[in-house]
Symmetry: C2
Subunit: 196 residues, 2 copies
Amino acid sequence: MSLALDAAAQDLLFREARTANTFTDEPVTEEQIQAVYDLVKYGPTAYNLTPLRAVLVRSPEARERLVTHMDEGNKAKTGAAPLAVILAADIEFHEETHRLLPFAPGIKDTVFSERPVREQAAQVNGALQAAYFIVGIRAAGLAAGPMTGFDFAGVQKEFLDDDHTPLMVVNIGKPGPDAWFPRLPRLAYDEVVTTV
Amino acid sequence: MSLALDAAAQDLLFREARTANTFTDEPVTEEQIQAVYDLVKYGPTAYNLTPLRAVLVRSPEARERLVTHMDEGNKAKTGAAPLAVILAADIEFHEETHRLLPFAPGIKDTVFSERPVREQAAQVNGALQAAYFIVGIRAAGLAAGPMTGFDFAGVQKEFLDDDHTPLMVVNIGKPGPDAWFPRLPRLAYDEVVTTV
């Protein structure tokens, strides 16, 4: 069964794309990240909430601060990657719904008036957008190294505020030598999909 | 700035892809969904947890039961779509980690021994995989209509169990007449991305 997407694109985005653990020193430019955003911003979210926010950790001083919060096994590669990005979800996304969902501005004061509801929606929809972002990094011909192995409270305190919750840190660049671990197994179709 | 992914693929997956609200009656086959899964199963998750599970609601009787749990505005299109899929997250994903992360089977009894930790990880990583799945549906040349407007507890009770939490329902098919609402605005790059 062939898909509409051509095989080279399938390989680029999924089949040959892998979580990179080493990178070359070729820089990742602002223009590349902007091109990624301008593509993946169209990925769907509930109510068009689009709560994802990103902090590009570029300066050596900021990178050093980020590395101190990473788990031991993630420190070296996060310090060495051409770019490290903190992906976070904005819990106060409802302040933008009058622009993002202009036909239903009232959701700010109804569906999303309570902070715990917003925290939940920010997490789930921020995660959807984080996945689109990873696909977009690969679409740019770059390798992504997403990580959740870090001190979430520490990164939030150091780089964000109480209204922005970290989702993951993603190292980005061209893959370097021995960039990949062996591909891990996946569940079979019949283990994941049932029909009623 | 051009991406490595060709422009036609960019359009197919993001720029011209839209959340469909009507569909033709062309069927969506098991082979198509299997091809989608076999592509997007490679999308990365934390610890390779891959907690996403899917229920294809095919029989008219099951579809009718699903429709009763959808919000008013989602009933007609969910009843009429060639295929409706319940995407859910398996909270007991740690039962598979010995296969999925063979070099660290111990995470089952350490990192993920507590159910609230698993609930959180299932939600976030299930959402990542739901996003890959939506991209995959588009890669198959199909339109997706993801929805969170339904009775989550009702759908869980009717189609799942206590260990599987619904993430969204996705209608799938070829877009029909007037399938799209106008494209909603997106936040500008500078509103989403900051640099330190």
